[in-house]
Amino acid sequence: MDNLVSLAYGFSQAMTPINIAWAFLGCFVGTAIGVLPGIGPALTIAVLLPITAQVPASAAFIFFAGIYYGAGYGGSTTSILLNIPGESSTVITAIEGHQMALNGRAGPALATAAIGSFVAGTIGTVALTVFGPLVAQIGLKFGPTEMFAIMIFAFMTSAAVLGNSMLRGLASLGIGLSLGIVGVDLQTGQSRLTFGVPELLDGIDVIMVAVALFAVAETLHTALLWRPDGVTVIKPQGAMWLTRRDWQRSWKPWLRGAAVGFPLGALPLGGGEIPTFVSYALEKRLSKRPDKFGRGAIEGVAGPEAANNAAGAGVLVPMLTLGLPTSTTAALLLTAFQNYGIQPGPFLFATQGPLIWTLIASLYIGNVILLVLNLPLISLWVRILRIPPHHFFAGVLIFVTIGVYGISGSIFDVALLYLIGGIGLVMRRYGFPPAPVIIGLVLGPLLEQSFRQSIAIGQGDPGVFLSRPIACALLVVALIIPILIGIMSLINWIKQPPVGVDSGS
């Protein structure tokens, strides 16, 4: 009951005209950047983080939440109409949704994606409302040993964020982990890899790395290698709305998608793709006509899109209650909290209750705004896709350069931005995924600290991890899960060719 009262308070705060305006702006920006390939919510939030110095915390988080949820909606549009996943988590939608569009069913594909996102996004937010405070209660008992175990769990199960090539993904992760070592060691106060540069003593800022890898590298890549290869945008035509039959085929996948998406998002598994893959596989298995999959089955759009948005709400659970970010966007949201002097963790609901409940309330409101924004305005979003990318990216580059200089007032940071951006360009060119760099940079130091804190607590005895029941259990599961996933994917692979092989037609 307490939660309901708090939530009602949150709604009263989130419903003020100015906060509705922030939510609307966030949803609008979020949808736009979701639609644009190559620009995601992580980059957008990184670029817009300086507003935290100007606006109240509630407004900033309502805005960022709008961007976060909005990108999930917008990404599906690009996938369906262009066959380019706007976000990594809409790869499946690009396969099945684009097939629907080719069959002249772009309208229903967009509609089932948007409504599915709304339904599952709302279910996910309800789950966040219920489980957030519960997880925070459990989190109160989490000391360094438990945090170490849960992060090992996250690392072991996040193989999917590594991308298509395991080796490249691990290399990216290694870059992130190395960048994370730079700065004053928190346990002893000694500086590491700072080469006498005082600017490096506090370590390398995750925002700067995100901006460098996503904005600078992407822009340089576009400038150097972009060819106007005539991407064709399918114009949605025919019936825009779902038929009775479409509704019948969609509602169960929406609910199942939400049921799959939220827990997978909430577990520190890392990466938005896993829930969509699981949902797709589930729908295919449950379908009476699995042969339709890959040729434009509406279930294959409805389920993964729902799972994607429910996972978005799930990711917020460990971020808010344990201070543990499991996606790039979550890592940046965590930084935004820290900009306000707020440390997400088990105490967050107690110490920042009004802010958190306002944020959660704004997620409900944002879902409604997004549904309204997306369906009727689809032609507007399609038009955004006609902006020549080079114009767009040039603006982004100027914006981020000024932004990085504006935050720190330091030329050193600008130089570092372009240095890492240059590395990012090489990575982009040769297919090294940028997300593991961010995950490594954020989680690496946390993992190291909790490991060393635990060892210090055990006075040098590593047995400390086994003496704590929760930590021990998590570590055991962390060892079992990758083995299970390996066996399962092997079985799947033997049974049927991997998803996507037959989609190129």
Partner: protein, 325 residues
Amino acid sequence: MINRRNMLLATAAVFGTAQLTAPRQTFAQDSVFDRFSLFVPSGVGGGWDGVARAIDQVGRKAGLLSQVTIDNVPGAGGTVGLPLFINQHRGRDSSLMIAGNVMMAAIITNKTPYGLQDVTPVARLTQEASVIAVGASSPYQTIDDLVDALKKNPGLPIGGGSAGGIDHIILGLTLKAIGADVTKANYVAFSEKAQAMASMMENQVHAALSGYSEYAEQIRAGNLRALATTGELPLEGAGVPTLKQIGIDVALTSWRGVFAPPEVSEEQVARLVGLITAVHDQPDWKQILKDRQWDDAFATGPDLKAAIANDRAAIQTALKAIGLA
């Protein structure tokens, strides 16, 4: 400009009654500091930043300051901002940097070539004593229990804030004072309060140190038990002795104050001391101290110099013993 002047006069009129009783009456209209600069060598929202914004707020309201700019240069315990303040504000008579003894420790551990001796101390404003606390279910009932245990095994895990910070230094000084081997100190640095709290409640660390306000709520709620505080005087409402009272010669609090740039004349320093004294005497300042639970530690002149010298020696000794200097 006329509008601004009128605003100031109006503000002065509103608060005229309060000023009548305050000793800062001698502060004539012509000594308003125009285009004043407050330099904060840390990020927006931290403790130093809070002091800067409080000086700005109180000073402008009382008509002591106008056109105040606050610059934040965060990084490395203040040692990124310090050289900038030394070089860019050199000789300026209307600039103050907010800093404290935490910066002394950062200067020593980061081995920076400049220090607080390069700037001019103006005033100490606030301080906070640390508390040594344990989880409610801990076997240690009093500070003596903990000290006895540390004498037997100085390697017991003790938690606190960042390594090389005030908490770490207090642990080092305490171990030294009780005759234990400081090199065996097993300090667990927590950057998150929640982690430190969980480790105490589950008795993973044997005790932890922190600024009193950080733990005050949990101590009142009975989740943590305070054993001792680290100031010269016992903390009101804490109900526990200071380390000094039980015969351990350690008294260290974390304090914040203001510093003028180098190459500022004695008259100019005196004028700045007058300004900060006037700010400190405002009822608004007292209210801010109360609201934020800041402990008033106002000191200027020789008192301040002595305190700085004292702290520097203690911090140097402790950091050396811990192996950081």
